[in-house]
């Protein structure tokens, strides 16, 4: 296996590829995300975004503009289509005291 140094393992984005993107003039979190695909895999940036931001700070990229995260979008946790399809206009009231939120 060639020696590679990963920032985003979901989408196979290495430090080398970030350096390449930087050499092409991409200097913002959003730009680097869009060019490399970083943060667009199953974890949606939970593993790589802070790592990217730390690397950008080390490159001095936070000097012109403060670093900002890319936009988080649902779903943040795994959710089944069955659960999404279960949405009702007039749902039952959950019981906050019940152990699983469902009326006993």
């Amino acid at each position: 296996m060639p020696r590679r140094c990963f920032v985003c393992r979901c989408e196979d984005v290495t430090v080398h590829e970030l350096e390449h993107a930087l050499s092409l003039g991409f200097r913002r979190v959003e730009e680097l995300k869009r060019y490399t695909g970083l943060g667009t895999g199953p974890c949606q940036g939970k593993e790589c975004l802070a790592s990217l931001a730390r690397w950008m700070q080390a490159q001095g990229l936070d000097a012109e503009l403060p670093l900002a995260p890319f936009t988080p979008r649902p779903p943040l946790e795994a959710v089944s289509f069955a659960a999404l399809a279960a949405r009702e206009d007039d749902p039952s009231e959950g019981d906050p005291k019940a152990s699983d939120g469902a009326p006993e």
Partner: protein
């Protein structure tokens, strides 16, 4: 249990990842681009590389599913990891990297051929064998205070609200038995009484609701609360090291949690700890393991599973696991989705809050933030912070009860 057709020994109730770890079977998939073997990293539900097909259902996390007799586990790739997979040559053929903006884009016929091959080889598994057993229901919760996260800060906040008799509910994605198990290093307080085990997957500012998905009693839960205390804690970002993607590179915090909850036992010489985070110090002490600063790591060796770590001084340290202990980064996503601001604090994106702990509004809900979500702090400090924020919330309710 069975993994890719071979027997896998396990203790009932432990996380699947614990069983895989004990059996030294940590490779779970091939990566999307370079087709390298991948395995679990975070061990606590954040990263995306322990996804497996379990009992005929795809994209199950080995780090959150529990072991039970007869469970069938498998990798999701078209070719099993131990079988001949021609796509593994991609890693060697493109040793200097792939720029997918230019790779085989022209001529068009070559691009079409490449696309069809890539679609065959990648992807995240096939459809389930059968329809979901129980149809999901929808429960809507209207309440005074919603707390997101049952870690130290969420527990601290819940204690204060329970003592004051204020209606509240704590939502956490981890199962109840997992939250109840003792883990002295990270739990300054017992789990809250009023607890819903469900993964909070979204905030919808337009409708003013939060939404969660419960697995055990399958249901969609939505929440409309007068106040929401965000206590989502922190995550362990990847440390960019040479070959940090080998199966066997795991997070030190995740490993500590498995040791506490699954009574996972590791041989003293099996693990090398890398990184300056507090969890690394704790793990190195417990295992009498070597602790190496990240900047001194030259390479992680093994094919594909970790077998050794080489330092820049040329020392080769044999090991089965490389436990990374990065400084944690705030789990900011839900807060940002709800409309809160962040600032980069050198480690990650911490939520911005006022002196009391308020971090904005989402519709009729006042948003509060507590614990590691707002910056680095120890579990004890996070617990105290959760209590402080809940007291500030009660104080505000007492003084401006009819604000809306």
């Amino acid at each position: 249990m069975v993994v890719d057709g071979r027997a896998l020994e396990a203790s009932a109730g432990e996380r699947l990842v614990s069983s895989l770890l004990c059996a030294d079977r940590l490779a779970t998939s091939r990566s999307a681009k370079y087709r390298r073997a991948r395995g679990p990293y975070c061990l606590r539900g954040d990263c995306g590389t322990c996804l497996m097909r379990v009992d005929g259902r795809s994209n199950r996390r080995a780090c959150t599913e529990a072991a039970a007799p007869g469970r069938r586990l498998g990798s999701q790739n078209k070719h099993r990891l131990d079988a001949v997979d021609p796509s593994r040559l991609v890693d060697h053929a493109f040793s200097s990297g792939i720029d997918h903006h230019h790779l085989m884009v022209r001529p068009r016929l070559l691009n079409q051929a490449m696309q069809s091959i890539a679609r065959e080889l990648t992807g995240f598994g096939e459809l389930p064998d059968a329809e979901a057993e129980a149809p999901s229901g929808h429960l809507h919760h209207r309440l005074a205070v919603l707390i997101v996260g049952a870690g130290p800060a969420g527990r601290g906040a819940a204690e204060v609200l329970a003592a004051a008799g204020v209606e509240h509910l704590v939502v956490d994605r981890r199962p109840r038995d997992y939250l109840r198990a003792p883990a002295a290093w990270d739990d300054p307080a017992p789990p809250p009484e009023s607890l819903l085990c469900a993964g909070m997957f979204a905030a919808y500012p337009g409708e003013g609701i939060f939404a969660a998905h419960a697995e055990t009693a399958p249901a969609l839960h939505t929440f409309a609360a007068a106040a929401v205390i965000l206590a989502t804690g922190s995550r362990d970002p990847m440390i960019p090291l040479p070959n940090n993607d080998r199966p066997g590179v795991v997070s030190a915090r995740g490993l500590l949690e498995l040791m506490a909850h699954d009574a996972l036992e590791l041989e003293p010489q099996s693990t090398v700890v890398v990184g300056e985070g507090e969890h690394g110090r704790e793990l190195a002490e417990r295992l009498h393991a070597r602790w190496v600063p990240a900047e001194e790591v030259a390479d992680i060796l093994g094919d594909p599973e970790v077998r050794a770590l080489r330092t820049k001084t040329g020392e080769r340290i044999p090991c089965r696991l490389v436990a990374l202990a990065p400084l944690p980064a705030p789990a900011h996503e839900l807060g940002v989705m709800a409309g809160a601001e962040t600032h980069f604090d050198g480690h990650g994106f911490a939520l911005v809050r006022d002196a009391a702990g308020r971090c904005g509004r989402m519709g009729a809900s006042e948003l509060w933030a507590a614990g590691e979500l707002c910056g680095q702090m120890s579990p004890t400090e996070a617990h105290r912070d959760g209590r402080r924020v809940a007291k500030a919330l009660l104080d505000r309710r007492a003084h401006v009860p009819e604000e809306e």
